[in-house]
Each structure stands twice: as C-alpha cells, then as structure tokens.
C-alpha cells in the first residue's frame, strides 16, 4: 500500500491542497503527517482543519516544534519563527489548539519509526543534517527505517551492516528501494516551505509492501501563497522564500 508522508505544511493552503490532490490522483489513500502544520504561512486554521479531517478518516498526525509552540511558547525559536507563532496563536480556535496540543511525538509501525525531527530525544527537535546527527538518531532507535521532516531539505541517510553511514540527495520521482540489509533515515522535504532551491512542494510516497520510497515534487500556486503571507503582515522573508524555495 502507498502511504503519503507530509511534513512541514506550515499553514500553506495552496501547497497543501495541491499536494493532497496530487497524492489522491496517484492513488494514495493513507497519510502520515510528520508535524509543523502551522507557523510561517497565512492559513493556519485551514491547515489544522485539513489535518484534523484526515486524522478522523484514519491518518496519523505527529507533533512538530511549531505546533508545540502554540501552547508551550516560543522559547528556543528565532525571532521570525516566534513572530509567526505569535501571529498564528489568536487565529486558531480552541478545538484547533487542543488538537495540536494532544499530538504524539512519534509513531511506530512494525520496523518503521515516524517522528518530526529525530529519533534521538524527539522533544529536543534536533535537525538531521549531518552524519553526526544522523548517527545519534540511528543509535536511539531499533527501527530499520525512520521517516522525519523538520529540515525542509530532502535527504536520505543509509547505514550499512558494517557501520558505514552516508547521505544521499534524492532525485524526484525515482523509486528508491529501502533495502532490508541496511538502515535508513528519510528526511522528507517540506510541503509548505521548501528550502532546497526548488519552490515546488515536496512529499514522500512510501510503498509499504515493496519497501520503496519516492520523493514527489508538486508545483503549486506559490505566488498566491507568498502574496497572502505579505498581506497578512508576516515577516517579508517568509513570503520571498516561497518564491525562491530557499
């Protein structure tokens, strides 16, 4: 069965709608959301409502650091992220805020682990961006494959049975076999705020039977999304990076 892995939607309605539509037309019916539904973008209520609806229909949703900051505060965030959270908080109703507050940090399914940032102390939101951070995550779990987001740049780390670890920049739309003899950390890119110099939304498609992962890119109306961020009075950087993808 194909599962859609959506991470870092960040209140981007246009990107979320386009990605869901793309996934549905590709025959994906089950979803796992890897966190960060709000923050940065102009449509937080829409993003949370959509995820709530998917969860009611059977999807799994995990907690991201921006979601946690709605109730626990913006400590540890840079000022732009904090400003966006302060803008977001009054725009969520009580049901939406409580939904976010109750989300779990991790989800395990057989030998697969799903988490927003890292298997190593998930609540510390460590970025997996290097061999060192990847090895900390590998050591913290027995799962054969870990799927996470948080970084906004797609990367695939692999660990051989002899302890060799390397990273790989995945190419979109290519079926990558997650071979059984080694362990994997798939950093899924971001739906709502890509930062790998490609502004198209990114999500992961996982075939659980054949153990195959595909990084999918979906071009969407990022000009509208960027305009809404600007019109909302959010920091201008949050608008321009939707155009540049960086």
């Amino acid at each position: 069965m194909w599962i859609g892995l959506f991470s870092d939607i960040h209140a981007n309605r246009e990107a979320l709608e386009a990605s869901l539509e793309h996934a549905h037309s590709a025959g994906i019916t089950r979803f796992i959301f890897l966190g960060d539904y709000v923050g940065y973008g102009a449509d937080p209520a829409f993003a949370v409502d959509t995820v709530m609806r998917e969860v009611e229909a059977g999807a799994v949703a995990l907690l991201g650091n921006h979601d946690a900051a709605i109730s626990t505060g913006t400590g540890g965030m840079n000022h732009i992220a904090a400003e966006a959270i302060d803008w977001t908080r009054p725009r969520l109703d009580r049901t939406q805020s409580e939904f976010l507050a109750r989300l779990p940090l991790t989800f395990e399914d057989g030998n697969r682990l799903f988490v927003h940032a890292s298997a190593h102390a998930p609540e510390r939101w460590e970025y997996i961006i290097s061999i060192e951070s990847a090895s900390r995550s590998f050591l913290a779990t027995r799962a054969q494959a870990t799927f996470c987001g948080h970084v906004h740049v797609p990367e695939l780390f692999h660990l051989s049975p002899t302890g060799k670890l390397a990273g790989f920049q995945p190419v979109q739309a290519v079926e990558i076999p997650l071979l059984a003899q080694r362990r994997w950390i798939a950093v899924i890119g971001s739906v709502g705020q890509p930062r790998d110099y490609d502004p198209a939304a990114c999500y992961g498609a996982l075939d659980t039977e054949r153990n195959i992962l595909v990084y999918v890119r979906v071009p969407y109306d990022n000009e509208t999304a960027a305009r809404k961020v600007r019109d909302a009075g959010l920091p201008l950087l949050l608008s321009s990076r939707l155009i540049e993808g960086a």
Binding site: H158, A166, F168, Q181
Partner: protein, 476 residues
Amino acid sequence: MDRHELKGGQVIDGFRLIEPLESGGMATFWRVTRDGDDLPMLMKIPLLRPGEDPLTIVGYEVEQMILSRLSGPHVPRFVAAGDFERPYIAMEFIDGLSVKSFLDNTPLPAEAVATIGAKIAFAVHDIQCQHVTHLDLKPSNVILRGDNAVLIDFGLSRHDQLPDLVQEEADGPVGTGAYISPEQVLGDRGDPRSDLFALGVILYFLATGERPFGEPQRADNWRWRLWRDPVPPRERNPAVPPWLQEVILRCLEVDPEARYATAAQLAFDLQHPEQVPLTQRAARMRRDGVFTVAWRWLRIARNPPVRFRRAVATHLADAPIVLAAIDLEPGHEALSQALALAVRRVLATEPNARLACINVLKIARLALDKLEDAEGRNPHLGRLVGLKHWARAIPVAPERITYHVLESTDTASQLVDYARHNRVDHIVIGARASSRLRQYLGSVSAHVVAEAPCTVTVVRVADFETVTRNAGAQRA
C-alpha cells in the same frame, strides 16, 4: 548458502538447478529453468558467509538494485532476486562469446578491434543513457551476442539516481587493477568517462596483446597510471594504424576531460576510422622520458586533482551527436544558410557536441551509376568540398566535425538509418518550399521526422511572399 550444498535438480523459489557454470570468486553460477518460462536463464548465487568481504554483500545488493532497472539488448534481462535468507539473482543466460576468449588470439587486426570496440561502446552508451556507469568493465564482463555486446556483473556499478552503496562501504578505490580509471583510483565514482578508460584498456589489449598498465594487484600500485603513460600501442605492435592508436590513447588520457565526451562519440570514431583527426597521440612512438614523468608525479603529489561531480544524464546531454543533413543542390542557398544558422544555435549550448555533416547522393534505382561525371570528376569529392564550404560558417573545433557523402535511392531512409546506426541525438534538416508535387509525394524532411529515432529540427526559409498573399486572400 554454501556452494557445496547445491545439487543439480534442486529447486529454489521455483527455479530448477540444471548444471553449474564457471564460478567466480564471489559467486557461483547455475543454468536454471522455470516451468512455463522459455527464457534461457542462469542463477547467480553470492557466497555470503561470515567473515566474507562486506563488499560481496554490497555487490549483491547493488547488482540486484541496478540490473532490475536496466533494459535493452545490452544487458541480461532481470528475472527475480531472493532475499537475504536465500540470496540469488535469476537473469537471462547470454549465449555468446566472452571478449575474454579473444585474448588468446591477440593482437587482433585493427578492423576487428574497431568492430568489437564499437559494439562495447554502444553497450556502454546504452546503460549510461539509463543513468548507470558500469565501473568494472573488463573482457570477462562483456559477452558478444550477434550484433550486440552484452555487459554483465553490475556489482560495482553506480546508478546516478540511487544511493551509491559501494562508495559507502569501500574504504579505498574499488575495481580491477588492470582496468580501473585514474579518477576511480582517487576515489571518484561519479564520472561516466571512467568506463571509456576501461574500454581503452580493452582496446589496447586487443590491439597489442598486452595490458597497458600491467595487472597490479595491490591498490597502492594502481596510482602509477596517474603519472606513468603507457607504451604507445604502435611501439608494441607496428601493425596498429595511427588512427587506432589515436583512439586508444585518447581513451587512456588521465584527465577525463581529454577523453571522448561519450561512448557514442567513441563508437562514432571506431566506425569512421578515415575521419579520426590525428594528433600527437597518433605519432607517439615511445613513452615519455623520466623527467616528464617525475614532473607529473610531483605535480599530482602536491595537488591531487579535485573535480566536481555531475549527473550522468547532464553529462550525456552536453555531448550530443548532431547530424546536419545538407542540401547542396543549386537554387537552395537561402535554405542552406538558414540550416547553418540553426546548427550554430544548437551547438552554442552544447560545448561537447559532435557534428556530422551529411549529404546524400541520390542514385537511380536500377542503373549502375558511373563513379565519375562527364568530365571525369568524382561526384563524391565535389560534394565533400561543398560540405566543407558550408561548414565554414559553423564555429566548431576540427576534431568535433566530420563530413560524409552517402549514396542511396531513398534519401530519407538513408538519413534515418545513419542516425540509428550512429546513435545520433539530434537531426537538423532543411525543408524545401512546398509545391504540389512535394505535397503529393511527401518530402524528405517529413519522412525523417516521422521515422527518426531522435529529435529532429526542420529548418525553413521564412516565406513572407506566400504569407502576404494568403493574408491578402483572406481579407478579400
């Protein structure tokens, strides 16, 4: 799975073992059959025992991953693979002649070397077009079957769009001492031209009976080829013609930039020996002196070359073979100029492109055409002069351009065949102004567009007279 446990008649996942074949160091091979399957098949069973080199395991994973994605006449068809409890790869059995079997009869004549070399080059080009660099090309990994070379053993190969598991596992360079390229010795597995170096070693071996860099077993000694040039083939075998030495030594250049840009371009030269531009490589009769070699060694020791990796697809896209079909009939000068402009535009963005300028001499179907015209001149020669004159306007280095006059009763089919035979990537052809007769018979360019195996650009001279007339008619 121990090789001694296997017996004829045993069935593994529906495959019946028939007879053992020659075994390699890291795997055993069996002829197998499967009910309801006519394909002749073999099963490769890796020897995965405790304490075995981890690269054996990785090689099995890599071959399974890559072979299952390759298709076409230059690779064995993938059938099935087992899991790690019962590892195997079942694939098509290739009934042909291993290039290794030619080594007993070396040196081979130049024509035979070129024929075999072109077949291997086409096979390499085919897998590279599918994002794969072989990286362990050697005579025992090439089987000749009919008109095609089939490449086997993808255990050390690299797929451009998948994680490089060999690179991850290996602590040093991986390959075969006699054939490994200088950049692989330096740890770079990302250059498609590494396969051209190995192919150069094969050509050298076939043409001279010797390996250009011997057979060093220890990886430390693989580095010698970075500064020590091989004995020129003509010194080893005076029967090697200069053009073949040129081709071989170009493949064996230490810097991949100095080799052929693609395997298709190498195959092109092997198929057109008379068009190979000769440089100092062809004239070399002995190796460089001690001083030159010492200086090279010093330079490399101080500044090991660092290079930037590019995707195989990007590399191939930069180095197309472009065919310009040129009409030399009088009265079409404007079209011929427009064609030159179009070709210049195509080449402007492709620095490694090769241009083949073609003119087709149309001959009558039944009559035996005279080779000379009424004044005793060879019409081919006149056409060649015309082609070279036309190409003056194209700014391209002499080693990247060739001229060909072909004969045919059917111009379009001849162009299409030529494009197919030489793996042409892009045809640029002019379309003469339309007339009643042409609309009825169909034009050469329309036939080429319909049947070409590649991109075709059709060039026209803007006909404002007709445009104006038609616009006027509409207004009226």
